[in-house]
Amino acid sequence: MDGSEKVHRPSAVSVAPDAMDRELLTRMHLTMVRIRHFEQRAIELFMAGELPGFLHSCLGQEAVPAGVCAALREDDYITSTHRGHGHVIAKGLRFDRMMAELYGRTTGYCKGKGGSMHIADFSQGVLGANGIVGAGIPIATGAALSAQMRRSGQVVVAFFGDGATSQGAFHEAANLAAVWNLPIVYVCENNHYAVSTPVSRQMRVSSVAQRAAGYGFPGVTVDGNDPMAVYEAAREAVERARSGGGPTLLECRTYRWMGHYIGDPATYRPAEEVAWWKERDPLALFERRLIEMEILSQEEIERAHEQVRAELEAAIEFARQSPVPAPEDALRDLPQ
């Protein structure tokens, strides 16, 4: 987005606070806290040289996975991206096995073969984070086809960024899902940059959601920093998918606080733009609202943070103590 678009206020779905129950709001809050702390600690560990590879942080984008996954059933599927920690945490994955994967240990979700970009847990419906931008979208579409053919009632969410919507894979998959009326929600986390390239230089339309018109299914834009707005829109899309109404493209406008990867100075973004978005910290805003709504007290919020921090430190210790794979483990786990 260029400077003039910074003040754009996404057309948030208005939600009456009492329309959401306490349990749901508390759950979404906890998910956001979990993502926030996981990402902050992962950055510290990476900077300290403890984690191999590279790291794509979703700090600042916590509301999207929290809101979307709150609308899903446990047996629903998701596909994720290189910036995927938030998605898989929101889908219910554990800190310890995630951390172990980031450390490349045998106890990690992928036994150290995938790393940060490829966390998967099929038992939790996480069909994998993907290192190829846009590649998870056709896979999610296939999972939706499978759900439809098996009449399982499952819904699939494909998470991807604004950059992925310029991939042919997005177009091909969205069109196929439309033609076959598949139970899928395409969730675009529009964080306004594909690496360094702003959305204005990626597409001529003013919103990603407009692209849905080309496929003949609804496209919705919401404030991706508001978990309640995200949840409401996701719930509607998921219900549509589950009841045979077909796909939805849900664009959630958000912002990544960090560069594309940790170490990217992100000089392509104006400082005032970053500051504007940081003022709209999705977690801080949500917590203020939860207190106003008397859903949680300041003490309860602090306790949630403490519990998550403690769980995270234990997970880091678990990862550090976990065995490093043997070199020849590299030869295992190919398809037989």
Partner: protein
């Protein structure tokens, strides 16, 4: 035993597996009412309907990707890529996704998907409808690559491919669909990684892929009249490769020719020849020879097309040279 066409063998294998397992379904361009560009799926839509014989938009990446996603979640899709040349558009899903997700997820993902396609020159289809690109997929760990040369093998191998729990690229040849061969009436499967000795011989080993098996047999027949005994080996699957059968033959003959329509440079033949040199150098009386596609795009005019694709006469000449 019956005489069946190669295309019928493909169709019979699909039909039998679809009747046997309701998770098996087909998706691809024009495979339904139209019956497939080469009529390999003719009659299946009539029996199994829209849901299990799925015509798709013109969309190879979506066909392949949807097949991968469906395979990961309990189905057993058979995706058709109409021409192997079009696999370029689907290659991310095949080479980066299907081939890698099992490994990358630490063994969690099971991806029982078959990518059916066809390759080969000889119909003046020019450079984008005639390539033999098996080397591209055989290069990638995590993919099984099958190239049946006979109706018997086409049926038995396709049934095995569909029952396999991992990704298989099944490569037919467009000029084989119309050939006939014997196949049992009762059910049979052919395991992967077992080469077929198509003709026994003692002087030269010719390892031939796909339609080149037929040309190699033709050459062997001609050479037999000159008193040269050629052994023709059809690996049938290049990943996994049955090296043992090839090595046993080379131990006997001491001479090796590899032949395929795919480009010579970095082709599967180079891999086979290298493995033979690594394991049986002692047995080789002469350096191995490649009689493979020339390193140019496939031209349109028949006279040029025939020139760039190996012919039986090229094999006869190469064998004579090795014997001189």
């Amino acid at each position: 035993m019956s005489q069946i066409y190669y295309r019928q063998a493909i169709r019979d294998a699909l039909r039998e597996e679809m009747r046997r397992d309701e998770r098996v379904f087909l998706l691809g361009l024009d495979i339904g009412r139209f019956g497939g560009t080469y009529k390999a799926t003719q009659g299946l839509w009539e029996e199994f309907g829209d849901e299990r014989v799925r015509d798709t938009p013109l969309s190879e990446a979506a066909i392949a990707g949807a097949a991968v996603g469906a395979a990961m979640t309990g189905m057993r899709p058979v995706a058709e890529i109409m021409y192997m040349d079009f696999i370029t558009i689907a290659l991310d899903q095949i080479a980066n996704q299907a081939a890698k997700l099992t490994y990358m997820s630490g063994g969690q993902a099971r991806i029982p998907v078959v990518f059916r396609t066809q390759e080969g020159a000889g119909r003046s289809s020019a450079a984008q409808h005639a390539q033999s690109l098996e080397a591209w997929v055989a290069h990638i760990p995590g993919l099984k690559v099958v190239l049946p040369a006979t109706p018997y093998d086409a049926k038995g191998l396709l049934k095995t491919a569909i029952r396999d729990d991992s990704p298989v690229v099944f490569i037919e040849h467009k000029l084989l669909y119309g050939i006939k061969g014997e196949a049992p009436d009762e059910e049979y499967l052919i395991p992967f990684g077992q080469a077929r000795v198509a003709r026994e011989g003692t002087d030269v080993t010719v390892v031939a892929l796909s339609r080149m098996v037929l040309k190699a047999l033709e050459a062997a027949e001609e050479l037999a009249r000159e008193g040269i005994s050629v052994e023709v080996i059809d690996p049938r699957t290049v990943a996994p490769l049955d090296l043992e059968t090839i090595l046993a033959s080379v131990e006997k003959t001491g001479r090796l020719i590899v032949t395929h329509e795919g480009y010579t440079r970095c082709g599967v033949g180079a891999e086979i020849a290298t493995q033979v040199v690594e394991h049986a150098m002692h047995a080789l009386k002469r350096p191995p020879r490649r009689v493979c596609g020339r390193n140019v795009p496939i031209p349109f005019a028949p006279v040029m097309e025939n020139y760039v694709i190996p012919q039986a006469a090229d094999l006869v000449k190469a064998v004579r040279e090795l014997m001189s």
